[in-house]
Symmetry: C2
Subunit: 462 residues, 2 copies
Amino acid sequence: MTEPLAIETEADAREDEYALDPELVAAVMESVDVADRVGVLALIAELHVADLADLTEQIDSGHRRRFIELVWADIDHELLVELEEGVRDEILAFLAPEKLAEAVRELESDDVVYLLEDLDEAARSKALESLEPADRAAVTKSLAYPEDSAGRLMQSEVVKAPPFWTVGQMIDHLRAADDLPEDFHDIIIVDPAARPVGTVALGVLLGARRPVTLESLMADQFRTLHVEEPEADVAYAFNQYHLVSAPVVDDSGRLVGIITIDDAMEVLEDEAEEDIMRLGGVGDEEISHKVWAITRRRFPWLAANLVTAIMASLVIAIFDETISSYVALAVLMPIVASMGGNAGTQTLTVAVRALATRDLTATNAMRVVARETMVGLANGCAFAVIIGAVVWGWYGSAALGGVIAAAMVVNLLVAGMAGILVPIGLDKLGADPALASGTFVTTVTDIVGFFVFLGLAAAVLL
Amino acid sequence: MTEPLAIETEADAREDEYALDPELVAAVMESVDVADRVGVLALIAELHVADLADLTEQIDSGHRRRFIELVWADIDHELLVELEEGVRDEILAFLAPEKLAEAVRELESDDVVYLLEDLDEAARSKALESLEPADRAAVTKSLAYPEDSAGRLMQSEVVKAPPFWTVGQMIDHLRAADDLPEDFHDIIIVDPAARPVGTVALGVLLGARRPVTLESLMADQFRTLHVEEPEADVAYAFNQYHLVSAPVVDDSGRLVGIITIDDAMEVLEDEAEEDIMRLGGVGDEEISHKVWAITRRRFPWLAANLVTAIMASLVIAIFDETISSYVALAVLMPIVASMGGNAGTQTLTVAVRALATRDLTATNAMRVVARETMVGLANGCAFAVIIGAVVWGWYGSAALGGVIAAAMVVNLLVAGMAGILVPIGLDKLGADPALASGTFVTTVTDIVGFFVFLGLAAAVLL
């Protein structure tokens, strides 16, 4: 099926090119309602399996089971790999074990690993049994590596050759092979101990004449990945070094598999997504999760925030007499805290990203800390002038304007320092800076904001 | 240079595998200080050009110019493409035009476009003049496409063939060609009007015998990208459909170039980064920017926050008499606002991501809005019980506990609704939901939080 995308001249019309047509989803659900299998199959016939997965996610869960049961025999079972976890689990829960086993047999080894790693013991061994012995061994071995490691991500089907082979030998070997991997972009050159010594890109192989040896065609640089390396590092290496594929080796340096860029790209996307979610104070939720699953996942983040909010309140409570004799303070104090929270969040967002991309290192850390402090001071001064003037005009009190201005300078300065020091500190402690920085930083800016503003007011105004 | 990564058995030791060694950076700066060119070159000899770029970024700007001038003649000038914008601009400002021209001649066409698009008119034409006529034509054409479009991202060097060619003909053609692209993974099959009709993966070509026609080896599915398609959509397509390369076509469907997955991966990373930065209230800043550049970029976001904070203060001011007779309200009111802000941020973070990944669509929008409202209600009730009990215990007033509990339910409910409706609304209006959602949502939760809590207190307690 060759299916070039429709070409439209309006940029606007193109904007939703990749969005699933809501009318298609509605039509599928209607056909499912009347159990019109042929109709459903006709509707989804043109869809790429990734779009079919999106469709399956978008169908409401009432229709989902009937949809899958109607079309299961006729669809590409790579669907299971494309689905988000929540929906996949839902489907695996009702899918007969022999149907799952059948699907597993059709998949590449890295996809099988991805699918099986979340299954419970019983379902996993049932699925493993269905595999050919060689595939079963490869999958079992991969599952023995730590979760989220290169070993889980790699595929064991590798095209390799010794350095002394010629282009002609290599091509003859490939033509004779009956089970080449679906996607491969490089030949891995290995020494007699099966250790990778280089790679030959297929494009280079094809451009060379038959008598040329592979050794002379090897790329200038090549990198191996250790099988227990975290997948986040794998993704980083692909992005940093523009790798297309990379051999995976064990402790003794022997080739055990290969990772291709499409898998690395998915990890890169997942890592960025994880950072975004953690910075936003949400865990590993998915758009298809139900109310209770979401509520439960968000609760701990809100609970942490409640604790810090109560701590800030305790600071305010110290000054309750000041506030009751000068109620304008209650009106104005959230401004100082809010500006500090925002300035701190700006700094920590930049810091968390720079740590993730390894742009913030021991070399430039002191320079960046100094800079963030200066930026906090500079914006603190700018907003001190603005808010000081506003408050002077509003309440007709130069003293009150001066107090809020001074508190603004201090809190934005502290925000800059906390925004950079907290993520660097968490990173040094081995924690994920995206995970907890936000709570720490806003706690600092709230407490400092309230304390300095109210404390100064108590000293100056009363 | 073959340089497999050092293999270490400790996970901790591996953690910083990809981080640049701070001692190396220090050593380079010391050698630069004494203008020891040979010493510097020895230090950087083993570095991948991407790491060399990181090193150049990490050297402080005092040393940077001298470093570049020392090593320029001996390094890979792809360095310019790997650098972040701020540092690149700094270098381009002092690099002699003929040196830039020389560097440009070494690069692939897509890299040249990337480099030239930010140059001013004079520098750009100077650099263009240095190119061979054919390359100059390709680059000029690419620069004529909109910024951040597929046309800017593609490379014009494409390996193409008619469908009736045999594997043998294709291989002979590739062997005879003297300027194959550096990276290519697919042969693009074109019809007589130069329109792509399919692709043949190099791995498949290599596995087939010489008399087989290319047509019979074409991949099941293939996708073309329109030359004016936004690069964000290009990245989405690569990720969604696991593309390795995709032909780019013009309005008439004719092949004009090709985009490979490594370029798409960079765009995907950039897009995720942009979302993170915008959600964190920061613009397009870089870790190497100076104090003033950063201060200026962050100012508008803080200014927007100041306006909304003042609006919230105006709401509090309505109730200043209530507060002065019941100062506990001033102590407690930030808790309600803060919890609302956090709950709203959670929802909008998920919504912004789901919109970016096209998981939130017209089909499931109503369902997701309903769910977020329910989640807000559920967590609102949970935290109402908790904070109600805390406040009752703290102030010994069941009425005050009841007031803050009720305000918590309302504000978390509103936070859920605002958190989902604001990004969906901005998206419908064609705005980037990551850009402004945060400010809108926290404005809503601050104002509602203060108003409901103080309003209820005024009604119930006085």
